[in-house]
Symmetry: C2
Subunit: 343 residues, 2 copies
């Protein structure tokens, strides 16, 4: 049962306005008086008019779509970031076309190709597979979050400060040895600076420390197996020592905490843990986990805001090309919880 389509003609007849006025209502409502806007709005309701935004998009290129590419859902950080990005609909009104890359460059390329065909106005990229130089060549506004960002705008946590905060906290916990467990990543990934921060503080204070780099794979179970191996390694290498462990993210920290808890039934004095991100798992774990909080809501908001600015610029009659790339840094906030001794 399809309803008969309501046309501009119908609306014009119903309201007594000209078709031009109706068209102006849709394209430049502010050129009408508020009274006339209300009259037309009421008529649309009465007539059960179904706006076709696609026609408008074709005319003015403004789809109000933003594409989002995230690598996976099993790291709590990404699902929480997506949650926060989607929540900006209330402020900005943009709709999100979401894709999970799963570390597959070809399927990401294919998906971006599709998005471009749908005239998305901008793109937020959290996955690492496509180099920023290639992303920039798509010639639409792009904001990267926590990935290589040489040729595109980005919003990142101040990762160096985060590394320093985590390491200082473990240092103040009087640990005998400080351990940082992370992926073996290229130096141009923002998160690499967490490693730099860790090493700088350890060297400054002359602390006994070890950087443990591993490939954590592409799934929760691979990550878990890898961390089980690391846990055995640490236990055997540093028996009886008080170990301060700084993990790459809260999902890793929660896995490590579970391993310790299953062995001891508690977190013994021998272990102190700090995660990274302040993703939901940090408070949902068996003990609330001390962590370097990325202000995920703020990062998401800033990324969309930055994108909106660029998208708005392109809607001007004479858009100015962006003079220089913007790389915004959001301050991390240390969250003191139950896996460290806190001042």
């Amino acid at each position: 049962m399809k309803q008969k389509k309501v046309t501009f003609d119908d609306i014009a007849k119903y309201t007594g306005f000209s078709k031009t006025t109706i068209s102006r209502y849709f394209n430049h409502p502010d050129s009408l008086t508020v009274e006339n806007q209300d009259k037309i709005a009421d008529a649309l309701k009465e007539l059960n008019y179904q706006e076709n935004k696609l026609a408008k998009v074709l005319a003015n290129g403004q789809s109000e779509f933003i594409g989002v590419i995230i690598p996976n859902f099993y790291l709590g950080y990404f699902s929480e970031m997506l949650n926060c990005i989607l929540s900006t609909y209330e402020q900005f009104g943009y709709k999100f076309l979401v894709f999970i890359g799963g570390n597959n460059r070809e399927s990401e390329r294919k998906y971006i190709g599709e998005l471009l065909a749908y005239k998305i106005e901008g793109l937020i990229v959290l996955s690492h597979t496509i180099p920023s130089k290639e992303l920039a060549s798509y010639n639409i506004p792009i904001v990267a979050i926590e990935r290589e960002d040489e040729y595109v705008n980005s919003v990142n946590t101040n990762n160096y400060m985060g590394g320093v905060q985590a390491t200082n906290l473990l240092y103040k916990n009087n640990c005998d040895v400080l351990l940082h467990i992370n992926s073996d990543m290229p130096e141009d990934i923002p998160a690499y600076k967490r490693i730099t921060g860790f090493l700088d503080i350890c060297r400054d204070h002359g602390l006994n420390h070890e950087l443990i780099l591993r490939d954590f794979g592409n799934s929760y179970s691979e990550t878990k197996s890898c961390l089980e191996e690391v846990y055995q390694y640490i236990k055997e290498k540093y028996p009886g020592k008080k170990k301060g462990i700084f993990l790459a993210n809260d999902t890793h920290a929660s896995i490590m905490l579970n391993l310790i808890f299953r062995e001891y039934g508690r977190l013994p004095d021998e272990y102190r843990l700090v995660g990274f991100d302040d993703s939901p798992i940090a408070v949902e774990s068996v003990l609330p986990i001390s962590t370097v909080g990325q202000q995920i809501d703020k990062i998401a908001y800033t990324a969309v805001e930055l994108l909106v600015e660029q998208m708005n610029e392109r809607k001007k009659r004479r858009p100015q090309p962006q003079k220089e790339l913007l790389h915004k840094e959001i301050t991390p906030v240390l969250k003191l919880r139950d896996t460290t001794d806190n001042p």
Copy 2:
């Protein structure tokens, strides 16, 4: 720096084909030989042609968009379901416009209004706020998942069987008392049948049991406070008894398990727990949680498949109206893990 737009004229000139042939390539590629298809495809690459799918959508109404409305992200079930829905892109090619309802009926209505203006072809609804009668009135293909579904198609777990499975498992664990903790929900929500299944088995076997219904609020922290209260209540009411607890979902089961673990450092014989969903938290918790597995990937796939069938029907020259609503049930699969004694 905008690139000059490549037109059908340009492609025709470049390839030597007529404009009609180029148009056929885009609308009915199979009407050309594979050889000619390849020639045009190569030319498109050479010319750096950017397809505008929106123009096609306007012409034939086929946007290839599906809207998805989920209630929240803090229940692992919903984020995993979204993950599985998004993953069907590889099979079906539909793109997803995702919205988090946050239990706000008005903002969901507004969002659906927007989606309709963008000519989405179908809608998947997991949130509970809008009655199915209203959803059906939008007159587009809709599939509901685990919500009231009187007037729309749906895919649900066989919730009654799930309730029976969980209760039978706890019964076989020789518990002194069986407890089911759930929300006080209307009987027309599919999950209500878990309660019916629990009560039927308890009554059949003449088991000591209690149904504990609470309002768990709309956030993780509200849910946690509520479960802390329930935990105290159970401890005081059934001291020394072996308690078999069937929880509404794995997120709740994980919170309960953490409360017990923090007190005892392990899961004592006095407690046996079963969750529901088999969402990721069930294996990520301090102990892997026994649970009634909803086959989330299968539910997501079936929902999209059902939607695609209806959307395809509408693309026919003489679409047949759906004769009767489809309510598909997916069998739950009991996952025996570490929070129960297993046969």
